[in-house]
């Protein structure tokens, strides 16, 4: 019976070409768009090299100095003091002053207070700068990252040739660099045999010791054009004991609660002495503004000072979009199916006359719908793969790349099939209850 239904479904799809086109277009377009959106997010937020540890990273971009003082505010109240009723008109309140100074941190602060936290298994300090160099008279902008040697452990770049710099080279401030394939192409015109060649930057010659694959991420510290030991910088020029050039990323144990490490970072901030001579006047509290990678990304889009709020907003927006893209075409599909199945009411009448039960009728139409949604899903997959390739090759998305996620495809595909089955079930169930005589009177066969 099932094979007969499959055969019939195929013929119905082939015969009603316009309806089939509309349905398949709806399903494949929806799934395709979903896949494309998710592939973009997967490229940006997925655990892909060089950001495979993404879920275990806590980023500190900002060190905040702020003034906290006690205010008194007038109130009219009666309070009990030592059993005596006292009429009081003032109250002390802990109120933060409006003065805040947000900036990146001095590497010394990071090394001294954040390098040995119990929940942190690794950490790296880095800062970025952009240099313009000229190759055969053509300007090439190089997004440069100054980092410590741990950078290569926290971020797992694919090293194609040579090696990365180590702690000794970092300490010795060796003039070495590891460059991306993008830089190799732009500077040397090739990615072949670039190790041991030199690039002049800021008046110094740096020897290329390694080449890593450029993965084209939006975030500069994940996808820089080249990486140099930060000991090559003039660190003494930093603003103060507190503020300086650096961001820091701390890595927690996989699966550990990020809030535990965030709490430790919060505690570490209280240990920083607030009496250093370079401290600007009036500030008496220091905060390391810590956030997860996803919070950082969401904050970049939503812009709220509270990173976790930004992430929460972004999640709701994405959920809303996802629902919109799934629910709307499903309603449309149900609508189409109602008219399609109603059109076949006399067929339903004939089938019931010859002994089909309600269940047989429902099963037939659900199978038809599942076949239709499966087809639509496969077309959607094709569309998504094609567009991901086109987008990635065209550079349309700038430095971002899309990464196809098989697991997400399977989930969306299954969801689509379930929606397809449901959208077929409801009208089929209604029509299966149709009075046979009335169904036969429709006479559309």
């Amino acid at each position: 019976m099932i094979s007969n239904y499959i055969k019939l479904a195929w013929r119905v799809l082939a015969r009603r070409k316009f309806f089939t086109f509309i349905s398949l277009f709806g399903i494949s377009f929806t799934l395709g768009i979903l896949m494309i959106i998710f592939s973009f997010l997967q490229g940006e937020l997925g655990n892909n090299s060089p950001n495979s540890n993404k879920d275990d990273l806590i980023l500190i971009e900002t060190l905040r100095l702020q003034r906290v003082h006690l205010d008194t505010i007038p109130v009219i109240d009666t309070v009990m003091v030592n059993g005596v009723e006292v009429f009081d008109t003032t109250m002390e309140t802990r109120s933060r002053g409006s003065s805040r100074w947000n900036s990146s941190m001095n590497n010394g602060i990071g090394e001294e207070f954040l390098s040995d936290l119990p929940s942190s298994i690794n950490q790296t300090l880095f800062t970025n700068a952009e240099y313009d160099v000229y190759v055969n008279g053509v300007k090439v902008s190089l997004e440069t990252l100054y980092a410590d040697a741990n950078y290569w452990e926290v971020f797992d770049h694919d090293i194609l040739e040579g090696r990365v710099f180590d702690k000794v080279e970092m300490e010795q401030a060796d003039q070495v660099m590891v460059i991306s394939t993008k830089t190799a192409k732009e500077y040397f015109g090739t990615t072949e045999n670039v190790v041991d060649r030199e690039i002049e930057l800021d008046g110094k010659n740096f020897k290329v010791i390694g080449l890593y694959e450029d993965k084209g991420k939006i975030i500069p510290f994940i996808s820089p054009d080249l990486v140099i030991p930060y000991s090559n910088m003039t660190l003494a020029n930093q603003d103060s004991y507190y503020h300086g050039y650096f961001n820091m990323v701390l890595q927690k144990e996989p699966g550990a609660d990020p809030d535990v490490l965030k709490k430790e970072i919060e505690t570490a901030a209280t240990l920083v002495p607030m009496d250093h001579p370079t401290k600007p006047d009036g500030y008496n509290e220091l905060i390391f503004m810590s956030k997860t990678y996803n919070e950082m990304y969401a904050q970049g889009i939503y812009g709220d000072e509270d990173a976790s709020k930004s992430l929460s907003v972004m999640k709701w927006v994405l959920l809303g979009l996802l629902s919109f893209f799934i629910v709307l075409p499903t309603l449309n599909l149900i609508n189409l199916n109602v008219s399609r199945i109603m059109e076949r009411s006399s067929e339903i009448g004939v089938r019931k006359a010859f002994g089909a039960s309600q269940g047989n009728i429902v099963l037939q139409f659900v199978i038809e719908n599942i076949i239709q949604t499966t087809l639509g899903g496969l077309i959607g997959l094709g569309i998504a793969i094609a567009y991901i390739k086109i987008f990635n090759n065209s550079g349309f998305l700038g430095s971002s790349t899309m990464v196809f996620n098989t697991k997400f495809f399977i989930y969306s595909f299954l969801i689509t099939i379930v929606f397809g089955a449901v959208s077929g079930f409801l009208p089929a169930y209604r029509m299966s209850k149709l009075n046979i005589v009335n169904a036969l009177k429709e006479n559309k066969l």
Binding site: F354, G355, N435, I436, L445
Partner: protein, 222 residues
Amino acid sequence: MIKLDNISKIYKTKTIETTALNEIDLHVPKGEFLSIMGPSGCGKSTLLNIMGLLDLPSTGNILVDGQSLTKFSGKQLAKFRNEKLGFIFQSFHLIPDLSVIDNVELPLLYRSNISGKERRELAAAALESVGLANRKSHFPNQLSGGQKQRVAIARAIVGKPDIILADEPTGNLDSVMGDEVMDILIRLNKESKTTIVMVTHDERMAKKTDRLVRLYDGTQVA
């Protein structure tokens, strides 16, 4: 075989009640070829639909082989129709998306004890018996009216039902094709002893059957 006991059918709307059948008592013995005649709107098709369990009477009882069917559930009625009854409709009601043989197979699809191969063989034999063995792979829109009705007859007989209910089977056919279809039905009745109840407007066709029942305004008059 079929016994209709005081059958009435009343259609009700908010404002009006229409009596389509009024206290019909009818007995169709096994192997009889019965025709029902009457003017349009007299209740012929309603009576046939009730005999075929496609519709339920407002009052009265339907007995087939002594078994009362009015209390059957939807599922039991479906099974009964599938095993005991075959239908032929005036406008054929073939499914356009299915080939001729798939259309003929249709009643067997709802029987759990028949394999695909067996279904195929039975459908081929049914088509052979109506002279359409060579049209198995055609689709309904590739057939003439007479051929379509012969396919419909093959579909009605493929499950070897005891009773065939035919609603103006020759109504959409010219006289030659009508005669061809009628000959098949008569042969079926004689050779297989299948009970046939046929609604018709055609006196000539009715005369070829064993007995004629006439209806007028929902009442049996002869």
